[in-house]
């Protein structure tokens, strides 16, 4: 499709396991963002990519979280040794560029719901 695609849509895992969440942005979008939304909370910024580099990793909650992006396309968010507090919907978004500035109009995927038991 033409939108942002995320997989898996739902993931249930046991505490201590590693998980990988995948995001396919809109083709041609240079910026890619990861956010998460815990139950009853707002959108919490995790990391964003400009091309394949990540200028801002300030939102990653701990060193158990990492993300990479290759080919200015697909991105993977990895959570190692998952904890129950990692349970959330992880949202990916991409954005194009207009007049030298990313427009800011993020296009979001439907999210990956992670449940850590």
């Amino acid at each position: 499709g033409a939108g942002v695609s995320q997989s898996p849509s739902n993931k249930v895992t046991e505490k201590g396991k590693d998980v990988e969440l995948r995001c396919d942005p809109i083709s041609g979008h240079t910026a890619l963002y990861w956010y998460r939304q815990r139950l009853g909370q707002g959108l919490e910024f995790l990391i964003y990519f400009q091309g394949n580099s990540a200028p801002d990793k300030s939102g990653l909650p701990s060193d158990r979280f990492s993300a990479e992006r290759t080919g200015e396309s697909v991105s993977t968010l990895t959570i190692q040794r998952t904890q129950q507090e990692d349970s959330a919907v992880y949202l990916c978004a991409s954005s194009g560029r207009l007049s030298g500035r990313i427009t800011g109009e993020l296009f979001f995927g439907e999210g990956s719901r992670l449940t850590v038991l």
Binding site: V4, Y33, Y35, Q41, G42, F45, D56, S95, L106, F108
Partner: protein, 115 residues
């Protein structure tokens, strides 16, 4: 410290009336503001934006007002429709001269429009 605040977690209005959703920010470097709408089990969708060089932007039933001196913006929906019922997120960004950087979101306001 929250840089973008939506102090009303919920708002209920009657169909046909005006909905006003408020947002305050603390970072004076923010210069671009957006509103997103989110339905349950879906990702947020972009609604309307405003640059700091403007104080008003209108798109159909949706108007965003920006008061830079007060670091306040609001989204007006008129007339409100039941299909507008959703969670509305305010977001802000700062231009650093190289790239946009990240968008900072508020916690959202759940709007319920009653028929």
């Amino acid at each position: 410290d929250q840089q973008v605040k939506q102090n009303s977690p919920s708002l209920s209005v009657q169909e046909g009336r005006i909905s006003i959703l408020n947002c305050d920010y603390t970072n004076s470097m923010f210069d671009y503001f957006l509103w997103y709408k989110k339905y349950p089990a879906e990702g947020p969708t972009f609604l309307i934006s405003i640059s700091s060089i403007k104080d008003k932007n209108e798109d159909g039933r949706f108007t965003v007002f920006l008061n830079k001196s007060a670091k306040h913006l609001s989204l007006h929906i008129v007339p409100s429709q039941p299909g507008d019922s959703a969670v509305y997120f305010c977001a802000a960004s700062a231009w650093d001269g190289g790239s946009q950087g990240n968008l900072i979101f508020g916690k959202g306001t759940k709007l319920s429009v009653k028929p």
